[in-house]
Symmetry: C2
Subunit: 283 residues, 2 copies
């Protein structure tokens, strides 16, 4: 079996490591626009061989894990090149633009739009982790547009990796993910910015930061090259979620300015049920 990973970084590289483990006979090829990344992926054993885009014509299975703007440009070309039997999976954090872009492609039935809810704040081949997807959710959009045989192949693969499958419409995916993922990244980046701006004028502030701050700004380490096109492609929903978040912050500030500490207590107490929700995530 010949497997091509386009973008063997955090997500693509982690798939590569799991594929090596599950399919001992498979040859894993890596494709990346940055030669240095490819060399690193090879050196780390994430991929077996380096390849170029045209070679995907030999692929049984292609995983595309690149920034979502690059995916929009690259996937039509990949589908043009592949054989009729090949399965192409894309893994980006927005799903509507890519589904729309490929809607009328003659090889649409070879394609599966997915979003594995897994990752860390790191990127590149060195961020790849074997077992990253175990117990995680994979959201699959427009599953009915993938040919049945390739659906089956993909499902077996995700099942082997220990993933839970959820089916969603692309628009619905993009709307919800704005709240539970994209907004978190912005809140974290802007929290980091607010504190860094302060630090310019004030020394020693970071000696005072504890694990709570660290947890809240963790996502501010994320890759701008990955996240800028996500915000661009999901602009409408992200702006909406930001509006609601800003409004909630302003209301909290108003309660504080009006010394309404009973209301502040109640606000926090009602959000405390996030505990149960987060525990539910782990089941």
């Amino acid at each position: 079996m010949k497997i091509y990973i386009i973008g063997p970084g955090l997500i693509g590289g982690s798939f590569a490591l799991d594929l090596q483990d599950k399919f001992k006979e498979a040859v894993i090829y890596g494709i990346d626009s940055v030669e240095k990344h490819l060399d690193q992926a090879l050196e780390l054993g994430v991929i077996h061989q380096k390849a170029v885009l045209e070679e995907v014509k030999n692929a049984d299975f292609v995983i595309v894990a690149v920034p979502v703007d690059v995916a929009l440009e690259l996937l039509p070309k990949v589908l043009d090149l592949i054989s009729d039997q090949a399965l192409v999976i894309e893994t980006g954090s927005t799903k509507n633009p890519i589904c729309e872009a490929l809607a009328n492609h003659p090889k649409r039935r070879n394609f599966m739009a997915t979003h594995p809810i897994a990752g860390t704040e790191f990127s590149g081949p060195s961020a790849a982790i074997q077992g990253l997807f175990d117990g995680k959710t994979n959201i699959i959009c427009e599953v009915e547009k993938t040919t049945f045989k390739l659906q089956e192949k993909a499902m077996q693969f995700f099942k082997d990796l220990g993933m839970r499958i959820r089916y969603m419409e692309p628009k619905s995916h993009d709307k919800h993910i704005a709240y539970v993922s994209h907004l978190s990244h912005i809140s974290s980046f802007m929290l980091g910015k607010t504190v860094i701006e302060k630090e310019k004028h004030e020394r020693d502030i970071f000696d005072m930061a504890g694990s709570g701050f660290e947890s809240t700004v963790r996502l501010a380490k994320s890759s701008p090259a990955m996240w800028t096109p996500i915000f661009q492609q999901n602009k409408k929903q992200v702006v909406k979620s930001l509006d609601e978040y800003i409004l909630n912050l302003q209301q909290f500030k108003n309660l504080l300015e009006n010394d309404d500490y009973d209301a502040i207590f109640n606000e926090m107490e009602s959000v405390n049920r996030i505990k149960e929700i987060l525990n539910g995530m782990k089941k």
Copy 2:
């Protein structure tokens, strides 16, 4: 040695566990307004015996780890009761109000105002962790107002626990901590609120949440009883930090609405240096 822990919860209980380890001969007494917490602390072995406030007259060492509004009320009484040789340490997240409240107390020299930068989002005796303070920063305010002999005793204790000491003015502490701790909690609570509000109308949203969301809303599990008086006591600085945070979020939203993706990329890239800052925290 007789040690009294007023509030044997996350912070007080963790001190109790370390004290048991370092001072094998010490008897650890617990005092709490909630009888149930005290029973739990005893059952978990966090304290050796239950006690009532009046008994602190027998104490060599008192640790007060209660919500900051309770501390304001309780500490003058504790200082009234203790012997001339006793050391009283308070551990809350605001320092100016307590330092002002005790400035003219006849036993001010027996008191040390501290803020150990350690903790988790959990609370109560079951949240106590042995070794919680190892490698953590302890901020001490107005150290010169504590009598030299008791300073020495306290420093040896914190050193035994593996803590780094930083000295600060109470006002300066409260100003900085608004950014690196209090603001993080509000950003997290309001993120949780924004997502929970959405979930009322939309199913399945939490199946889509990953570890990034979990990290960013972790602090929204925190205790409202602990945090409401912190926000109250540090109102001015917290409102200021919230203003700056909201402004940064609005500016980010404006960039998005104006499709200025170069600026969005640059914003995120410049905040990425939080990586080095967070790494610096660990040294």
